[in-house]
Amino acid sequence: MIDYIDRPRFLSDQTKRDISSAQTKAAAQIKIWDHMLSNWSDYSNYSTPKYKILKQRCRKGIPSNVRGRVWFMLCKGLEVQNSYPHHLYFRLCNREEDPPCMLDITKDVSRTFPEHFLFVRQGGQQSLTNILRAYAFLDPEIGYCQGMAYIVGVFLMHVDEESAFWMLVSFMYNYQMRGYYMQGMAKVYQSLYKANYLLKLHEPALWKKFAKSEFYPQIYAMQWFMTLFTFSFNIDTVLRIWDCFLLEGPKILFRVFLSFFKLHKNDLINLSFENLLAGIRRIETSLDADLLLRAAFNITLSRKELLQIDREYQNAPNPVLINWK
C-alpha cells in the first residue's frame, strides 16, 4: 500500500507512471488485435503465413476487451450463422412448446456460475436458458447435457446472446464436441482413454502411482473435458486455454492435461488414494495460467501420436471395458 499512494490519497509518481505505461501497453495490444481483426483472412487460415502470428498471439492470451470479438471470429460464428436460415435463433426462441429436456435446463441454469455477476441476475439466467432451449430444438439428438451450461456461460461473459448461440453451434459441430454430450458420451471415454495413455507416456512415475491406487482419469478429469476446464480451473486459466482451443482445437486440452501433472507431480506422488482427488482439486484452484500454459506448449505432442491412440482405442478388442493398464 505504501508505494501506491501518498498520504492524502494522491497517486505516487511511480504509480502514475505504472498506470500510464500499462494503459499504453493495453492500447497497443488492442491496436494489434484490431488490425488482425480487420485483416482476418490473412491470419486465420491455416495455410497463410500469418497464421503463425495469430497462433502465437492467441497463446499469449487475447486481451479481455477484444476477446469476445476474436472468439466469435475464431469460431467462425458468422459463417455458421449464415449457413442456417435467416432469423433462425429468433424463431427457435419463439417456439411455444418446450423441448423435452426443458426441466434439465431449468434445473441447471440457476446453478451455473451462481457467483458471477451476470448470472446472479435474471437477465443472464434468461439468456442462458434461451440459448440452451434453442439449441435443444436445433439438435434434438443432444437436447441438453450437464456441462453445456458452463460452456454457454463462458461465451455469454464475452458476447451477446445470439452470438453466444452461434458460438455454441460452432463449438458443437465444427469443434466436434457433440460426442461429449450425446447419449452415451462416447467422446468422453475416448478422451479419458487418451489422457490416461498420454499420462503413461509422459509421466510414467506418476501414472504408475495412480494405476497402483486405481486412480484413473475418469475419477478426476471427466469434468475437465466436459466443461473444458471451466468447472474446475480458475477463470483466468480457463480463458487462456479457450484462447488456444478455439484456434487450435482439442489438442490443447491434452497439453494442459499433461502440463498440469508435469508441474504438480511432486505434490501428488506421495498422496494416498483418499487424498489424491482433494490434492488435485486444491491445485486446480491455485493454478498459475502463465506457468501452466508455457509448460503445455513445451510438451511435444504430435497429431500423429494422438491419431495413433485414437486408432488403438477404436481397435481395442472390447471397447466396452477398457483395459487401463
Binding site: 434439465d104 447435457c145 452415451g184 475419477i219 471427466m222 471395458l321
Partner: protein
C-alpha cells in the same frame, strides 16, 4: 486413527435433489446455497464410530442427470451402501429413486444396503411427496427412510450413519465381515448403451 472397517457408499438420485449438498454437509459440515451442478463424481471420506467399531466411509457422490446414469455402475459396483436421494418438492425425483432401487437390485452387490433420504425438508410447504407414501415404499423394499435437509442439517448425520449400521448388521448376521478393504474399488469406464439397453427405468404404481 485405527480403522476397523472401510465401507464404500454411493449417493444416487435425480439431478438437483441435493446429493452433493448432503455429502458436503455430512463430511464438511458446510452448506452452500449455490452448489454448482455436478459433472464428475466426487469422492469424500469420513471416519465415524459406531458402537465399538471405527469405520471409514468412502462416499462417492455422483452426477444426477439421466445421461450420466450409464456411468453409475462404475460407482455402485462394490458399494456396500447406497443413499438414494429425492427432493420432497419434486415428485419425479421420487420415481427416480424407485427406478434406482430396481437397477441396484439387479446390478449391484446383492448385500447392498439402502437408505432413502427425502431432502429439502426445510421446504415443507412445497412438499409433493407425502411422507407416509415414501416411508411405506422404503419399508416395502427394506430400506430406512429419513427426512433430511442439507440446509439445516436435519437428518443428515442420521441417514449416513444408518447406512453404516445397516452394513455392520448385515456383516454380523452373515457371520463374517464383508470384505471391504478394497471398498473404494476400481472404476472402469463402461459402455453406457449396454446398461441403458439392459434396463429402461422402471416405473412404479
Amino acid at each position: 486413527m485405527e480403522v476397523d472397517r472401510e465401507f464404500k457408499i454411493v449417493t444416487l438420485g435425480e439431478g438437483r435433489v441435493g446429493k452433493t449438498s448432503l455429502a458436503m454437509r455430512y463430511v464438511r459440515g458446510q452448506f452452500n446455497e449455490k452448489e454448482q451442478s455436478t459433472t464428475n463424481a466426487n469422492f469424500l471420506e469420513k471416519n465415524i464410530r459406531i458402537n465399538e467399531t471405527s469405520i471409514k466411509l468412502n462416499i462417492w457422490d455422483t452426477a444426477g442427470q439421466e445421461r450420466f446414469r450409464a456411468l453409475a455402475p462404475n460407482y455402485y459396483r462394490e458399494a456396500k451402501g447406497a443413499l438414494l436421494v429425492y427432493d420432497i418438492t419434486d415428485k419425479e425425483s421420487f420415481w427416480k429413486v424407485v427406478s434406482w432401487v430396481e437397477e441396484l437390485k439387479m446390478q449391484a452387490d446383492k448385500d447392498i444396503s439402502f437408505v432413502i433420504a427425502g431432502n429439502k425438508c426445510d421446504l415443507e410447504l412445497d412438499r409433493q411427496i407425502p411422507k407416509e407414501q415414501a416411508i411405506a415404499y422404503a419399508k416395502q423394499i427394506g430400506a430406512a427412510h429419513y427426512s433430511t435437509s442439507a440446509k439445516s442439517g436435519m437428518g443428515v448425520n442420521e441417514c449416513f450413519e444408518e447406512i453404516a449400521k445397516l452394513i455392520l448388521d448385515k456383516e454380523s448376521r452373515s457371520g463374517s465381515p464383508i470384505r471391504s478393504s478394497k471398498a473404494r474399488s476400481r472404476v472402469i469406464v463402461k459402455n453406457q448403451e449396454e446398461v441403458v439397453k439392459k434396463k429402461k427405468s422402471g416405473g412404479c404404481c
